[in-house]
């Protein structure tokens, strides 16, 4: 059953199309990642889904209801980009109030806080918490009403690797309990690790959707890398590849014929070590699909891009 459904939704800011006939669906226990460059329409779509905006055309439904209605939003938990906690409130007070607003029983706030491993934060002022701790508190507030749908808007922005890992593990646990999750993020390899489905927005439209594997498998190029005694230009001439770069002491060759490149490189450089072949990353696939040629998008796979553990791919 779909717990979140967007069908033919359009929205305009004045003369600017923010969304044009966008559709997506999130089932119970599924996680859908909404990807795309800045200005693609992700935030507008999140605003439609959370009831902040009404679509000009089309429909948005959360558990069959209109998210503009407060009663419908009882099925919704939201983690916004910015927490904006009041200056004078302690975490425990925020969670108790959130529980009341959600119609949850007494003690639900403390339980939600404990469920995200943040019970010890209850006496602390929310504004004094670190970024990772604030995200945990936000997630606890989103979960306190036992929502059917979680909407996470760039939830790991500004977090260190450890905090991101912990956050996604918590989200994956809720997903596995049957909560539908819609997440927007720029950290696409993290999205690939936690989301079973990816929707790519560009210029207000859905340009592609599928599983992360489908998106990356559709990319013809792979990256062959190794520590070589040859200069990048010599490697390019040897293996017959055009895109050869040197980074961190390793030579990277982007090619559609990885096997041929490996054979030639091994034959032509007897000192070759650390040979690795990597498929296109989700970030590279999305960049190719949206025409986003930013340097970050073009970088080959590195160990830091590896999917996080504890989340379903």
């Amino acid at each position: 059953m779909d717990v979140l459904r967007v069908e033919g939704a359009s929205y305009r800011y004045g003369a600017v199309d923010a969304l044009t006939e966008v559709g997506l669906a999130v089932g119970a226990g599924d996680c859908v990642a909404l990807l795309g460059p800045n200005g693609a329409g992700k935030t507008t779509l999140v605003n439609l889904v959370t009831g902040l905006l009404a679509p000009a055309t089309g429909t948005v439904e959360v558990c069959g209801g209109d998210p503009r209605r407060a009663a419908t939003r009882r099925a919704l938990g939201v983690v916004a980009q910015s927490a904006g906690f009041p200056r004078t409130f302690r975490v425990g007070e925020l969670l108790r109030s959130a529980a009341t607003r959600a119609g949850a029983p007494r003690g639900a706030g403390e339980q939600a806080l404990a469920s995200v491993g943040a019970a010890d934060l209850a006496p602390r002022r929310a504004k004094d918490l670190s970024g990772g701790q604030q995200r945990r508190v936000q997630l606890a507030m989103a979960l306190v009403g036992a929502p059917r749908v979680l909407v996470l808007d760039e939830p790991t922005n500004g977090l260190d690797v450890g905090s991101r890992h912990d956050f996604w593990a918590l989200v994956a646990a809720r997903r596995d309990e049957g909560v539908g999750v819609l997440v927007t993020t720029h950290l696409m390899e993290e999205a690939a690790a936690v989301a079973g489905h990816v929707v790519v927005l560009d210029r207000a439209r859905v340009v592609v959707s599928g599983t992360p594997g489908e998106l990356t498998a559709a990319m013809p190029h792979r990256t062959v890398s190794a520590v070589s005694s040859l200069a990048p230009a010599d490697v390019a001439a040897l293996v017959g590849a055009e895109a050869v770069t040197l980074e961190g002491g390793r030579v990277f060759v982007r090619t559609a014929e990885a096997e041929r490149v490996v054979r030639r490189w091994l034959q032509g450089d007897a000192t070759l070590t650390g040979l690795a072949v990597a498929s296109a990353t989700l970030e590279q696939a999305v960049a190719a699909l949206t025409g986003d040629g930013s340097p970050a998008s073009a970088h080959p796979t590195t160990p830091a891009d590896a999917p996080l553990a504890g989340a379903r791919s």
């Binding site: 099925a75 916004a80 910015s82 009341t100 340009v207």
Partner: protein, 296 residues
């Protein structure tokens, strides 16, 4: 997302290697999966009264913990009142003491400031910090969030009036019937609604700093112009011409009518009631428009 095939308008494109991928599907939904009725939330203890009280309690808690708010809404009006009541409170005016009349005028000053500035600044700050957005996507309707900010000013305003009364009795030697005091407080609290609506509208539109400047300017200028801080008779003649066009003047007239009815005619009371009701309607419409604008 469930794995059932998308079959309606899904197109397929061939990538460079020939792999097919679903693309650009404006209705890329799962075929055959119709929506069912919304399942009940896991928790069903939601009640408007409970949420409104919790929201109001949160608002009151944030006011009590905020020294700047307490200074402007409590210390300033009570301090002014103590100063002038100690100087002039014992004098007689129209069959009662000046301290008693000042309880109505300074009471208007204190209650309108609480009603207008506290929810206005709270709303502006919530907007600026992003906290209002968090509330707007929660299960609490926005009108309840805003109403709670206004409701929270009632105990706050009653507290200000109680402090002023203690000062009036101890410093100004005032004597007042308890029932008259209750009527005075009730009239001032109910009559401060248009000021609360103005505060909400400004808080929904302006930044925190802008709201602070604008509301303080309105607060002090209309208070002085209405003769709340200094009797109109002590001010230049044009103040008496301007005062009837200002809302605080009419609220203070209604307040005075509760404690010194002989000083206000029934016609004046009727006029002041009409002015405040009309202002409530106009400022209410303004507040609703401002909140809708803030929401979008």
């Amino acid at each position: 997302m469930s794995t059932s095939a998308s079959t309606r308008t899904t197109e397929h494109v061939q990538t460079e290697r020939g792999a097919a991928m679903s693309t650009a599907s404006t209705t890329d939904l799962h075929a055959g999966q119709g929506l069912t009725a919304a399942p009940p939330p896991h928790h069903d203890g939601w009640s408007l009264r409970r949420v409104l009280l919790a929201e109001a309690a949160d608002e009151l808690r944030s006011v009590v913990r905020e020294p700047i708010t307490l200074f402007f809404s409590v210390a300033l009006p009570v301090g002014f009142f103590a100063f002038f009541a100690s100087a002039f409170g014992g004098q007689q005016a129209g069959g009662t003491t000046v301290a008693v009349l000042m309880l109505a005028t300074y009471g208007t000053f204190g209650v309108m400031g609480t009603a207008m500035i506290t929810p206005g600044l709270s709303l502006a700050e919530d907007r600026e910090r992003g906290w209002l957005r968090t509330r707007m996507v929660s299960a609490t309707p926005l009108p309840v969030v805003v109403a709670a900010k206004v409701v929270a000013t009632i105990p706050h305003a009653v507290g200000v009036m109680a402090l002023m009364t203690v000062v009036a009795v101890t410093v100004g030697g005032a004597s007042l019937e308890p029932l008259a005091w209750v009527r005075l407080v009730a009239v001032l609290v109910v009559g401060s609604l248009p000021f609360a609506l103005l505060g909400v509208a400004v808080g929904a539109l302006a930044s925190f700093g802008g709201a602070m400047a604008l509301l303080q300017a309105v607060y002090f200028s209309t208070s002085v112009g209405s003769g709340l801080l200094f009797p109109l008779a002590m001010l230049p003649g044009w103040f008496q011409t301007v005062a009837p066009f200002l809302l605080p003047y009419h609220l203070s007239r209604l307040g005075i009518a509760q404690i010194a009815p002989e000083t206000v005619t029934a016609e004046d009371v009727g006029t002041s009631v009409l002015v405040l009701v009309a202002a409530t309607a106009v400022l209410g419409a303004f507040a609703v428009w401002a909140l809708r604008r803030a929401r979008s």
